[in-house]
Amino acid sequence: MVRVVVSSVLDLPVDEVWRVLRDFNSHHTWHPAVAESVIEDDLPPDTVGAVRRFRLTDGGELREQLLDLDDRAHRLSYCILDAPLPLHDYVATIQLRPVTDGNGAFWSWSSEFRTPPAQAGEMRDLVANGIYLAGMHALDGWLRRGPAPLTVARAPEKRPAPPPSPPPGTGAQAVVMTRHGGPEVLELRPVTSHDPGPGEVRLRQRYIGVNFIDVYTRTGYFDLVDPPGVPGMEAAGVVEAVGSGVTHLSPGDPAAYACPPPGAYATHRTMAADLVTRLPADLDLAHAAAGLLKGITAAFLLHDVARIAPGDWVVIHAAAGGVGSLLTQWAAALGARVIATVSTAEKADHVRTLGAEAVVLGRGQAFLDEVRHRTGGEGARTVFDAVGRDSIHASLEALAIRGHLVSFGQASGDIGALQIGPLASKSVTLSRPNYGHYVATREMMETHARRLFDALAWGIVTIPAPTIFPLDRVREAHSALESGRTMGALVLETP
């Protein structure tokens, strides 16, 4: 038996490297030795037992079978079924480990095989250097450059939707907002879903996130949808079909999006593929729909809008809510000392488990006293306020000198006009971030999504199990969200 072990370290997060490597049908996009790759029998590429057929750049053909795939351990093994070279009983393993000192990835690629003794040296060199080391360096470069346009089409004849999904247009439904108003303006109607054009993808949506931005869309507070139209910013499902030029998604991939334009309240959706992110395999679709928009919001609020330093006092209003609970966990993990506000005692108990140092009921005098007491009279460095009208004055009062008020929502009602003159009394910084401006490009989206997936993988944040409403009970879901009684996220489940 010949044994080959090659290892390297990539200066890239382990999840980012794993997302490519776990795709058993991806080598042709990044490995210099592979020109074409096809999975036989149309199986999803993460099906254990799937067989891939490579056409090598030197013209040879190779068939390999996936033997095991472990997303938790970041490990996969495969064997060669047919090869143009004397590599017999060849079994290889790819293993990634995080390098916590600097957020890199240790990558080990090893194999055992039999080969005639006269060719052992040549085969060892080919496998170790021509395949493994060359592949490692190529993937490193490919990930740093970003996916390049493909020179070889990805088996276009294999593209049709997987069997379980209905033909396009059949049975598709969408929630249509007939006019601006209360929940009663939402109606479930049959619609036609169309095939993806160039750069587009069609998703069979399973779960749809229900967010306050949908309420603002419905009431007309945000001018996002002209009725009649379909609201909704966020959904998770499975890729049914992709148009030409789409390289980061394949039919069968779990995928999600959380961005404008609205239109998520539907069973099927055809949209720009750039807006859609492939999901880690260990994130289930209901949780993805519940957490992607809120998690991306938390990601840019904590990394781009405000910068949280260890030891900072941070106030998070509505900390039991969808974004609030993620912000609380994440800010605490970044070392912030979190003072959370909630509206009920039940929510307070929950928020204490998320890492908040103090939890206060309401945003009145008791809240201000608590902030003063905790911070030694100084006030909070940053306040995250999505409550709006009912909280903004307390938020300003709770700030330290040169504090930062991040006002990113108005669950209690429009904030109205705010005089900016008095803000000078504390040299206040005020941010009014708009979600769309932080996810305007694929790069921005991928940056925030990667932060979120990493935070989830590391257990820094957890997405609580969402409350699930069937799609045809969308009005009840909106009423529940607006009532302020809900904890965690709401999602709609498609039939």
Binding site: V5, V6, S7, S8, V9, R97, P98, V99, T100, D101, G102, G104, F106, S108, L133, M136, A332, G355
Partner: protein, 145 residues
Amino acid sequence: MTRVYTSAVIPAPAANVWRRVRDFNGLPDWTPFVRESRIEQNLPSDKVGCIRNFVLTDGGRIREQLLALSDYDMSCTYSILESPMGVENYIATLSLTPVTDGNRTFAQWQADFDCPPEREAALIQQVGQGVFQTAFDALKAHFAR
């Protein structure tokens, strides 16, 4: 059970790094936080089952028992018998893996233990950064010379 995992790349061949870290009685030689160490009952420091008894630079005393030592895998597993840290069932493994690309070393240090929930975050920080990463930093600095 709480798990702490820290890993780093040391700029030296794995065999060289292993020579430096293999001695169970050698913490004062390669970490900055151990002042003195001895093996109880005068046993050899590579006898599996031996107990190291060492004093930290801050004065704390820790007793740890060698549970496994592998020159083949370049790994070492030990448990804490006594310490001022307030952890129970603490078992840790330090292991080295060659990085063939550049002839460097991938060093991993993992600990599993039980502790009161309110101390978990502080202990994860203390063990993962204060102990493991600090020791790795010392190795990186030593071999960077």
